[in-house]
Symmetry: C2
Subunit: 246 residues, 2 copies
Amino acid sequence: MDKIAFDTKDCGSCPIRHRAVCANCQADELAQLEAIKFYRTYQAGQPIVWAGDRLEFVASVVTGIASLNQTMEDGRRQMVGLLFPSDFLGRPGRNVVNYDVTAMSEVTLCCFRKAPFEDLLRRVPSVGSRLLEMTLDELDSAREWMLILGRKTAREKIASLLVIIARRQAGLLLTKPGDGAQFDLPMSRESMSEYLGLTLETVSRQISALKKEGVIVLSGNRSVTVPDFDRLLEETGDDVDGGMLA
Amino acid sequence: MDKIAFDTKDCGSCPIRHRAVCANCQADELAQLEAIKFYRTYQAGQPIVWAGDRLEFVASVVTGIASLNQTMEDGRRQMVGLLFPSDFLGRPGRNVVNYDVTAMSEVTLCCFRKAPFEDLLRRVPSVGSRLLEMTLDELDSAREWMLILGRKTAREKIASLLVIIARRQAGLLLTKPGDGAQFDLPMSRESMSEYLGLTLETVSRQISALKKEGVIVLSGNRSVTVPDFDRLLEETGDDVDGGMLA
DNA sequence: CCGCGCGTTTGATCCAGGTCAAGGAGGAAT
DNA sequence: ATTCCTCCTTGACCTGGATCAAACGCGCGG
């Protein structure tokens, strides 16, 4: 809810310093990034770019959560990515973006203009290698997502999404989610349905079912508590012992 | 069907020389790759690695097509990637593979042992940057695939798969598929169903329907001819003018 | 305090695609 | 040729999730 305060002049105090594209940078390399960075903030629900638009910068998400969406001609929408703090936005070597990017909550981006960033990518190998690593991680989670979309039931999809959110939020606190884990859903039922390839009615029904059965406890309709995390994991249909993160 | 013959001593004669991870290499860099490469061949249907196994090398697909699959405990399977000639297999910086890799047709790999390759990745920036570019492309197609899995009807899924195959096969011949395009399906109905999140019966029925309506012509059940490519494109549900490749 | 709007829940019905169950059809071995 | 296979097609039926249609509830402005 409340913004994390940090000194925008000093990357050392940045909350994502050690997980973002700059994670492997030495002090001097960091200084080069610092020289070309600037911040932007978007309100919840606000579009960041539309598919087909030019994107003049690349960026790291500092706070908040953004989504990548594809839309078909007839209006069917599918979310194809979810950007948490430290995730990278934009594609070096391409000016045009392929999908709509939307702020799901208030989002702060640490932006780098394209040309200087690409230049730096050529000169500073630690940035390129970190970016490769992050892109490979994203590819892995895209593939996990493909399994969710292609083969899981509605109930398994909801459970999987809750686990993904719990893990990413816990990641920010540097702990693993356990029993009694509590977190906020960063999105509406409709966005959840766009993520999971369902309708919002089905999302609502499945959440109600999980609630009725005590797998989750809701307060309001955004705040979730998980009394027994293993129970939730079982509902995902995945191999319970770590197969998912492998 | 018949193997492409090439001189395995000379990367210059390699059929994927200008599209694989080595695409941007200068002669001297190529020589370094050449020094650590070796070839492996797998028969159609043969496993290349299983999820969880150590993979001692990374590789480029030279000929043939391989699939990446995820399997759930109860046997549900989802294909999460399709590797065509020039595509890259394996993940630098990780020893264990996340999914089953299977040869769909006879596959020849140009392999590099992990350690020397990673070493080279550090020394030769053109390899790293090419790998980043290829990984970003794969991420884009994974996201296109997510739209297919999450939002398309069975008929649209089949049409989309046919278009993807036609494009990739045409890519090998350096032409774009047009009317009268002819290609072979590199996989069984069952594999198609694993790709598309359908059952094999639904795949079969939809192919029969497209055939009955004249959108495609089959000879045998692997060879496809597309009399009117735009007609097929319409069936994918995508924006017809290039939205798909953006 | 009331009413309006938006996000959500819940109910009733429908249908695309899954499931179960028989047949083809081609290819290799006998 | 005949018999297996293996892969594919087709048919009949069923069901999970979509669709259509009300309510509900909570925050906000008047």
